[in-house]
């Protein structure tokens, strides 16, 4: 397996307050990582730093061999467009565009494929995520679950190497949440590396590996192995994870 992300001595401060303190870890291609921790532990800050959306105070973040903290705006934007996908807690779709237009946008911007091909890929993603019937809809007129699925389609349209998620199911009900997680697992099984921040045990239990943050440091790591979707195994993974977290006072 190839290491696609290497984080070395990552520190991040906001004024006097240090949020991340010498964080070190590596992520291999095709892995599914869940970052967990208490509120204020620095997990979202870590995610935004390693995805290049925020600059670290010090340390190196080598993504695909490049130190993304040192890339200029044009280059980091290109990396984001070509190699990264991002799902937020809220869908953050552009409100003046329809569902389909929102998804098509990064594909058109990248310009790697013809516009017809991008449209075909979008249609396939819409079917895959079950929102093909709302493709032309106004984003204000569809449900939260449909919006989040659209956000996933948008994150995947350029077939990224790595997908980042910040509480991607945090605003959804449990059944929608399960469906979204199924989609993410499918993507991961197809080869896309996934790194999620969550405080939901059910979400984290889908990951291969869990990184637990405490006061800006990696306090512990837990390896669960690949998720197979079998109900009994899922319950066992959740139980293991729950007990592990309980010891950490989570």
């Amino acid at each position: 397996m190839k290491t696609i992300l290497k984080v070395q001595d990552l520190c991040k401060s906001f004024g006097e307050s240090r949020v991340l303190n010498n964080v070190n870890f590596e992520v291999e291609e095709g892995e599914f990582i869940a970052i967990m921790g208490q509120s204020g532990s620095g997990k979202s800050t870590l995610l935004y730093s390693i995805s290049g959306m925020d600059r670290p105070t010090s340390g190196d973040i080598l993504l695909f061999g490049n130190d993304i903290a040192k890339l200029d705006d044009e280059t980091i934007s290109e990396v984001r467009l070509k190699q990264m996908g991002f799902i937020f807690q809220h869908s953050y779709l552009l409100k003046n565009l329809s569902i389909k237009d929102n998804i098509v946008l990064p594909g058109f911007k990248l310009g790697k494929l013809s516009r017809e091909e991008v449209n075909q890929n979008v249609d396939a993603l819409l079917v895959k995520t079950g929102i093909e019937n709302v493709a032309g809809h106004d984003i204000k007129k569809v449900s939260g679950g449909q919006l989040q699925r659209a956000a996933i389609c948008r994150a995947l349209i350029n077939q990224p190497d790595i997908l980042f998620g910040d509480e991607p199911t945090g605003a959804l009900n449990s059944s929608t949440s399960r469906e979204i997680l199924d989609i993410i697992n499918t993507i991961n099984n197809e080869g896309t590396t996934v790194i999620l921040v969550t405080h939901d045990v059910k979400v984290a239990a889908r990951a291969d590996r869990i990184i637990f943050l405490l006061d800006g440091n990696i306090h512990d790591k837990l390896t669960l192995g690949k998720y197979d979707g079998i109900k009994e195994n899922t319950s066992l993974r959740e139980k293991t994870l729950y007990e592990w977290l309980e010891i950490k006072g989570f």
């Binding site: 705006d73 934007s77 990396v79 984001r80 552009l94 003046n96 516009r115 991008v118 449209n119």
Partner: protein, 784 residues
């Protein structure tokens, strides 16, 4: 408590509040300034006229004069309260040499006639800037302010008069205001001398011209008096001018400027109100959750509005006071021309009262307007404010699907154009301000261009030729005429010429009284004029009449009018009505040459084969035709008659262009800052998707650029549609004899330079403001 909130708000939203304050200050200041300018123009002129007492009717005359005959006639006229005959010694510019600023030069380039006069006793006085009658000692001279401006003269400068064999040296003691000849549009100017100097020169130098001046109890009697005077065959070898014409010719420059300033003020006030609304809405959007919370805890609408209205009241009050102060302080700059031309005038109580009233009215208007805008608070529900975040905007009813169908257009263009196309109302402020700036800039520019254009002469009642020759010396009229013909016929440089003969006939006015009609007759008479309606006379029984004459006799094109001359009468059909400012605006044109009548005047429109030789030829002919003929190169004639207006307009136009450019830049900055703040989340999303800062900047440049372009195009169209109507409305009100002017635009300026200047200014500030995008981080949407 409210004031505490207001105070905190001022601290919190410094930029927005400052911008709002500036707009309120602008609105109030300009409104006050327009009033000051307008009132000062009329009060200054009135004051000067009250002191200097220009004649109600003035007949100029060159040649012999019989004062007893005139006195006898005047004393028989019922309405005449006073009369006097003023003697002028006519000299030419080249006879006067000045030596100011180490630079000796003579006034040979001055085309207008110069008359040396002595001070009158009680009426038609030449006064100083304080409106005091000027009394000079021997060797002293009073120079008209018109020439001070033109030649940069100073008090104490020596003036050497050289005429025939006479040479006298004078010193400028005063700059004088001449109530009847202070406009460059009047073809003469007067220089004041001491009585002894004048009497001595009267015997030695120059030819004499007389100003036969009459005063009436009612100035409206001038027209009837003119008919009676002319019919009495009294001296009339020269222009006749009425009081109303003197007033209007004096004031045209300042009236034009007041009009331009008023137009600009009105447009700026409109812009200010648009901005006030925009900034209030932006502030309300920003305070949406606070408003929602206040509503949720049960504060009634009036109380919530009260918090805001106090703030805007305070802003409006400070803005109006500042605007008023700035207007008062800067009014000196704008009224400078008024005080130079009409004398130093302290601000009249009427000006003070009116300007305070206008300031109060502006304050009330702003209050009302703010109250109206703030009504929106009532419409927003707690759910809109706190839950859906819909805010104050109307339901954005449709999302236009279809970006995915685009085949070629780059994503940045696609997004920007779609935004402008489908969400134009979001950009309406930029559109409106650019449109107003174009209108505000182009109307005065086109007006200036029109005044400068040679074609403008055709609106003034003259045809457009290279050289205009006028012969109007009563006694030697025919011999002078022969001499002109002789010169023109023998000159190989002449391509062609038209001659017109002026005769005087009578006709009935609207009240069925006889009135005089001066007709320029000739084969081509009236051919090159611009007609308000109808056309030039095509047959011998057709006549074209000036606009003022048409009003006087109350007839339209196609109607018949009877002309009485000698013992005959003849019926004519009115073929056309044209506008005219020459000869007091009361003229007519016909092909029929009235052989029975004596000529009053001859004029010749001459075209040269080589029109680069116009100046040279005019000088040459002026020399060879002698003093009986006035030879004027048309372009120079226009420059000198309209030059004053053009110079003033140029200054104003330059100021307006600067104001227009600053305005669009200021609005763009303000709008864009608020727009970017509103679009923060969208920008962050785009960045997260992989759009670079440059991409986002490009999108805004395209949005602002295309909205501005649409605004510019709309502005140009509106200028073409409304510009002339606005100008013509003012001309009609002014009663100058011009009712309609086709604005002559310079295509390079109208279609290229002004649009490019505005667009470049807008795009350059847009680019500067867009640097802020660098500071917008993706995580800001998470922290929002």
């Amino acid at each position: 408590m409210n004031w505490l909130i207001v105070k905190n708000d001022f601290k919190r939203n410094k930029a927005i509040n400052l911008a709002l304050l500036l707009f309120m200050m602008f609105s109030a200041g300009l409104a006050v300034l327009s009033v000051i300018m307008g009132v000062q123009t009329f009060t200054s002129i009135s004051n000067l006229y009250e002191k200097a007492q220009p004649p109600h009717f003035l007949q100029m005359h060159k040649g012999e004069i019989n004062l007893e005959e005139i006195d006898a006639f005047m004393s028989e006229q019922d309405g005449v309260t006073y009369w006097q005959t003023v003697t002028m010694i006519n000299v030419h510019g080249e006879s006067l040499t000045t030596a100011g600023n180490n630079d000796q030069f003579n006034l040979s380039d001055l085309r207008i006639d110069i008359g040396l006069v002595k001070q009158n006793e009680t009426r038609d006085l030449l006064v100083n800037a304080k409106h005091e009658k000027v009394i000079l000692g021997e060797g002293e001279l009073g120079m008209p302010v018109l020439l001070r401006e033109r030649y940069d003269m100073e008090m104490g400068d020596p003036i050497i008069l050289t005429y025939n064999d006479v040479q006298r040296e004078f010193v400028i003691k005063e700059f004088i205001l001449d109530s009847q000849m202070n406009s460059p549009m009047v073809s003469s100017t007067r220089i004041l001398l001491n009585d002894q100097d004048f009497d001595m020169l009267a015997e030695e130098a120059g030819e004499k011209e007389y100003l036969i001046e009459s005063y009436f109890a009612n100035t409206n009697e001038a027209s009837n008096f003119q008919t009676a005077y002319e019919n009495a065959e009294l001296p009339q070898n020269g222009q006749a001018v009425t009081y109303a014409m003197i007033f209007l010719l004096s004031a045209i420059t300042d009236i034009t400027i007041v009009f331009v300033l008023l137009l600009v003020s009105l447009l700026l006030i409109m812009v200010s109100f648009i901005c006030v609304k925009f900034t209030i809405m932006a502030a309300l959007e920003e305070d949406l959750s606070e408003i929602g919370t206040m509503k949720a805890i049960g504060l009634p609408f009036e109380d919530i509005r009260g918090i805001y209205i106090n703030k805007y009241r305070a802003l409006a009050l400070v803005g109006v006071i500042l605007g008023y102060t700035v207007a008062l302080l800067s009014s000196g700059v704008f009224t400078n021309h008024i005080s130079t031309t009409f004398g130093d005038m302290s601000m009249s109580p009427l000006t003070v009262i009116l300007s305070i009233l206008v300031a109060c009215f502006t304050f009330l208007l702003m209050n009302l307007y703010c109250k109206r805008v703030l009504k929106k608070i009532n419409k927003v529900t707690v759910v809109d404010a706190l839950v859906t975040g819909k805010g104050f905007g109307k339901e954005e009813d449709f999302i236009k699907d279809g970006l995915y169908q685009s085949k070629k257009l780059s994503v940045n263009w696609l997004m920007a154009i779609r935004e402008v196309f489908y969400r134009f109302k979001n950009w309406i402020i930029v559109f409106s301000v650019v449109l107003i700036a174009v209108l505000m800039t182009l109307v005065p520019i086109n007006l200036m261009n029109t005044f400068e254009s040679p074609e403008f002469i055709t609106y003034m009642g003259s045809s457009l030729e290279d050289i205009l020759i006028e012969v109007q010396d009563g006694e030697n009229l025919e011999s002078n005429y022969e001499r002109v013909i002789e010169v023109l016929e023998s000159d190989a440089g002449v391509e062609g010429y038209y001659e017109y003969r002026r005769v005087r006939v009578q006709t009935m006015n609207a009240d069925n009284d006889l009135m005089n009609l001066h007709i320029d007759s000739g084969e081509h008479s009236g051919n090159e004029l611009q007609y308000l309606s109808g056309a030039a006379p095509g047959a011998d029984n057709e006549i074209a009449i000036s606009y003022l004459n048409a009003n006087e006799i109350d007839k339209e094109v196609g109607e018949r009018m009877v002309l009485f001359y000698g013992n005959e009468e003849m019926e004519f059909v009115i073929s056309g009505i044209y506008q005219d400012v020459t000869s007091g605006g009361y003229t007519a044109k016909s092909k029929y040459d009235f052989p029975e009548l004596d000529s009053e005047k001859y004029s010749f429109s001459v075209n040269l084969q080589d029109n680069t030789q116009v100046e040279k030829k005019a000088d040459e002919w002026s020399e060879s035709m002698g003093p009986g003929a006035n030879v004027d190169p048309m372009e120079e004639f226009i420059n000198q008659t309209l030059g004053g207006v053009v110079i003033q307009l140029k200054t104003i136009v330059a100021a307006i262009v600067i104001i227009g450019v600053c305005l669009v830049m200021l609005i763009t900055v303000l709008f864009l800052k608020l727009r970017l703040a509103k679009d923060l989340s969208e920008i962050a999303i785009l960045k997260a998707l992989g759009f670079s800062e440059l991409d986002i900047k490009k999108q805004y440049m395209i949005k602002i650029g295309s909205v501005s372009l649409i605004g510019i195009i709309a502005g140009i169209i509106l200028t073409r549609l409304l510009g002339e109507r606005i100008v013509n409305l003012v001309l009609m009100i002014s009663g100058l004899g011009i009712r309609e002017v086709e604005l002559i635009a310079n295509p390079l300026v109208q279609y290229i330079l002004v649009p490019l200047l505005l667009l470049a200014s807008i795009l350059s500030v847009t680019w500067i403001v867009l640097r802020i995008i660098k500071r917008y981080h993706i995580i800001s949407i998470i922290n929002e």
